[in-house]
Assembly symmetry: C2
Homo-oligomer: 236 residues x 2
């Protein structure tokens, strides 16, 4: 079985004044709704699990009911204290449903990447089924500079071997759980990227071709870029 897993933030703070980026509007609709709709285009998903800060669960439920008619296959639960803990919460949910076995695949995706495509999700599903893990990437556009001491350049690695990580990252869920549970607390702190857990443990992670447009909305001006991308798509 295949589950969509949309990462919309972990444990929230009641003190946080700003609305998390995934709830801001682009094209008159919250970013997270654009993302959810991309997942719902793929009939392979048993369910799509949305993990968000506890304080935002009710709000997210309201949004989903406002914008989407058929919501039985959408689950909204709270995230964990880290990105990896959040993913583990999704796997716990699948386990509680009785659907965690050797063939269970999760397609994990940032809520703030609303321009993911049907093709990217399909490629993720196929690669995770075939190989156990995959990561969506685009070739690095910037020169990447390495510095061990934050003062002097230690290396400028060959850019043709470098990629910028996007999402989805997709995994055999049981394999990811086993590998994650085998980590020490110290390793857990360092390995903030789920794909890196596979890499560190010597398990292959296949590359899936992303898209420049599959951008992450992080900075305020990303909203402007996202609006213009939406407009381009409408005009095309």
């Amino acid at each position: 079985m295949i589950y969509g897993v949309i990462l919309a933030g972990g444990i929230g703070s009641r003190m946080a004044k700003e609305k998390p980026k995934q709830y801001l509007n682009i094209g008159g609709k919250p970013i997270i709704l654009h993302t959810i709709e991309k997942f719902r285009l793929c009939s392979e998903f048993e369910k799509t699990i949305i993990l968000c800060p506890e304080d935002w669960i009710e709000y997210t439920k309201e949004l989903v009911h406002k914008y989407i008619k058929k919501t039985e296959d959408i689950v909204i639960i709270k995230g964990g204290s880290t990105r990896n803990e959040t993913i583990q919460n999704a796997i716990d949910f699948i386990e509680n449903e009785g659907n965690l076995n050797n063939d269970t695949i999760i397609v994990t995706h940032d809520a703030v990447r609303p321009f993911v495509t049907y093709r990217i999700i399909q490629d993720n599903i196929k690669a995770a089924e075939g190989y156990g893990a995959c990561d969506t990437v685009i070739p690095a556009t910037d020169t990447i500079v390495e510095s061990q001491d934050n003062q002097v350049v230690s290396a400028i690695p060959d850019r043709s071997k470098l990629y910028q990580g996007q999402t989805p990252q997709s995994f055999n869920a049981l394999k990811l759980r086993e590998l994650y549970r085998s980590l020490s607390e110290e390793e857990k702190d360092i390995l903030t990227d789920a794909a890196k857990i596979f890499v560190i443990k010597g398990e292959p992670v296949y590359l899936i071709k992303g898209e420049t447009s599959n951008m992450k909305i992080t900075y305020p001006y990303d909203i402007t870029v996202a609006e213009s991308l939406l407009k381009e798509k409408k005009d095309a």
Copy 2:
């Protein structure tokens, strides 16, 4: 002596139909003019050398005369077949002026990064004078993924040690020339980044803190982002 070196493209093709990005307008003025104006705020520069495709030299001269009153310290000459050859053309020009010696510093900068700041240029000058070479960078925002075979992830390096390269890159001009001339033709093909020549040869390159806003205008939607950045600055 200190020279500004603005890289606005190498040998152009008469077949190229599109106008190079540096000549597109933002805020009603060509991008390259915004960049030139940032350099002219720094009185340390003996001259600012602009290197552009041969076919665009006359056009660039017209633009400079249209937008800038005092143009005696601006030089417009043709670029080379590669980025490094273009920089060598600038050093040749300085040599022909009789100003190439042990203390000559060049501050090389992409014409398509119009939001470079006075602070960044000053930091570049000081570091190049003190240490011989420096590179402007910001901490890497994306996860960087390495693949040796373009199929499977070979490493996901620790992001806290990684930076995205911007410009300016600033150098002791004579040192850069010596190092460049010591390269084999094969090395010249690989070392497209001037700072990397120093790194490969074991010479220190200091990091200068860049800015997210010091963006490179590469894609069409970067123009939209640039316009909104300009507007923010005006509103601030």
